[in-house]
Amino acid sequence: MAGVAAAAMTCAPLAACGAADKAVPYLPVITWQVGPDRVDAEALAQTCNDQAGGDYRIEVEQLPTDVSERHALLTRRLLAHDDSIDLMSLDSALTTEFAEAGFLAPIPAAQASALSEGVTPAALAAASHDGRLVVAPWFLDPQVLWSKGSTAERAGLDTTKPISWDDLVAGAQRLGVTIEIEDRDGSGLPEWVNGLVAGGGGSLVSGTGRAARAGLDSAGGREAASIVELYQGAGVGPGPTADAVTRFAGAGGGFLVAPTSAISDPALSAVQADMRVAGYPTVADASVAPLAGVGLAVPAHASDLDQQAAFTVIECLTSPTSLQALATVSQHTPSRIGLLDDPAVAGGFRSAEVARASATTGVTVPAVAAWANVVDAIDETWRPLAGVTQDATPRTSQAEVQAALDGTIR
């Protein structure tokens, strides 16, 4: 639409301009809003553009890094029916809210089955609302435990099976190395808490809509708080930070709790070859990895033509070739987990085994519309980490999270 308008504008005043005689071929320009993930969106777009052979052209635009800013900006643009969004990389956490707000164009039935084929249940759930697929599942990274070289062995940890947080912290403390927790966009802490609560047998939020109940003031919540307290008390790291990867690569870094894609970070290029992977640390016995990922969504307000083109783009971006690139280049765990068995992928994906297991046992953030507010509520109550106690924090946090869910003042 915008493309046509632009073409018309430039051509109209010049009666003799080249295209004036023949009809202007309609070239939908698909503006793809991407988040701060490690995907090389430009390269993927280029590949698709080449394949399309002039059916469309993808232009990539970057969204803010910070999760609440990204959320606020996307929401406002969608409210404003901003025509500079034709396709967006949507955090799986926002699916419910945006779908409820009616921002997302439903996936055409013809494509839906193809898109959901072979997708892990968690990824499928994170891409659906009310039983309908509203987002094309793309990747859903489980968090894993990365370590440098023989650190784990030296700490006396057996990496073949998931390590418990207690052992991990003790080991790191013994070696005098840190356990870094990655938080690229400000959602690290809530995801960590979510994973810990789930690992402790609870659930951060149960139920949906305004009937959702916070589950922090529970055994699981207290378990989560005790682990944060343990981590903080041992002084083995600053908690979820934006520069965790850099710090991990540095001298004092020993462990890194981060998604599978972390290894592709340029900051790790020096230690990349030497990195080992293990399952997400356990709380009780089970390893429940936080799952966070991105789907591809089309805004409901876009014109039919643009929507059509956008879905064609989605087809290209979710094609095995693209997903392969996603897995091997940026090490994101594709939603279609079966792809990891492909020999072409298996060689290039560093954490295949762990990822495959975690992708099924892991937990995504709860599907509630108020998730963005829950993020704020958890940030408010669990920071600074030094203030977290298993007696008080779950209770205060419970109230705040519940308020966020209810839409009342926190």
Binding site: D66, E69, R76, R77, L79, A80, H81, S84
Partner: protein
């Protein structure tokens, strides 16, 4: 010793002591190069003190207390502006740590001028402010005339409404306005900002125009009418020369106020194309090297009020002073 001599000596002593204190603190506590700022201020204050002693026993009608006050005022006003300039000229990737600019890099100014986002935001601000100002002044001039010159029942009530609207926290209206715009499907268009912006411009325009109207020598109008002037003549001979300058000054103030509005613009617009400059700067401030960009854009934007002030300094001061009294 006459009283005025005594007063000057006291002023000199105060100025000297202040200068001494500033100088010492600067030398002991402030690292270079900012130390020079402190020393310069101290030198000026101490020179003032010395001059006060020298001129104490002359009949020159000059108050050294006033000089001291104006010097303090100048420092108070200029230091933050200098800091803004320093932040704006900090090279990319560096953080300004001293008040005096270390390396001056104009890239932030370049960026502010060439950045499409900022340009579009500035255009939005100017456009919205212009339309809102024109509408508001067109409504306010007759209203102010009625309030000042005509018999109006409930004059105080109307006036109270204007003042209330002027002092109201506009932010409180941003939410409902946004909700309304969303349900009208107009959220995000530039023109949709104009109507809410009237909340800012209309009361201010009315309030300032009332002041303008009160200063007009109305007997002159009676005289012009008694002399048999026709309507157009009344307009040309009376309204234009006596009302014109005041209304123009009021309109300029309203325009600047509308340009500088933050809450409405930030609340009622997504980032583009309708986000006005102040709100855009909030977004920009969160980016890498954001402070430089914000400071540079702010200083450039400051040119608008500065020009208004330089063109009509007396009238603006007069208007503001008389309005708010």
């Amino acid at each position: 010793m006459t009283p005025s001599v005594r007063s000057r000596l006291w002023a000199s002593a105060t100025s000297f002591a202040l200068g001494f204190g500033v100088g010492n603190y600067g030398v002991l506590q402030v690292p270079r190069p900012d130390q020079w700022v402190w020393i310069a201020v101290a030198v000026v204050l101490m020179l003032t003190g010395a001059a006060g002693v020298l001129f104490a026993d002359t009949s020159r009608a000059v108050s050294f207390w006033a000089i001291l006050g104006v010097e303090v005022f100048a420092v108070f006003t200029l230091v933050p502006l200098l800091w803004t300039f320093t932040v704006a000229t900090t090279p990319e990737g560096a953080t300004a740590r001293t008040l005096l600019p270390q390396d001056i890099s104009w890239s932030a100014f370049d960026g502010a001028i060439s950045s499409g986002t900022l340009r579009s935001a500035a255009t939005t601000s100017l456009l919205v402010a212009l339309v809102a100002t024109v509408v508001a002044v067109a409504l306010a001039v007759p209203a102010a005339y009625a309030l000042v010159r005509l018999q109006v029942r409930a004059r105080r009530l109307v006036y109270g409404l204007v003042v209330a609207a002027l002092l109201m926290p506009v932010l409180a209206l941003a939410g409902p306005f946004a909700d309304q715009l969303v349900s009208l499907g107009a959220y995000g268009s530039r023109l949709a900002l104009v109507v809410p912006m009237l909340v800012v411009t209309l009361p201010l325009a009315t309030w300032l125009c009332v002041t303008v109207m009160r200063d007009v020598p109305w007997t002159l109008l009676d005289a012009v009418r008694a002399d048999g002037a026709t309507r157009p003549q009344q307009l040309r001979r009376f309204a234009v020369p006596h009302l014109g300058p005041g209304v123009v000054a009021a309109a300029l103030l309203v325009f600047v106020a509308a340009c500088n509005d933050f809450a409405l613009g930030a609340g009622l617009a997504p980032d583009r194309p309708s986000l006005p400059l102040p709100a855009t700067l909030l977004v920009a401030s969160r980016q890498v090297d954001g402070s430089s960009a914000v400071a540079a854009a702010g200083l450039l934007w400051l040119l608008i009020p500065l020009i208004v002030l330089l063109v009509l300094p007396r009238r603006i001061n007069h208007l503001l002073g008389r309005s708010y009294r």
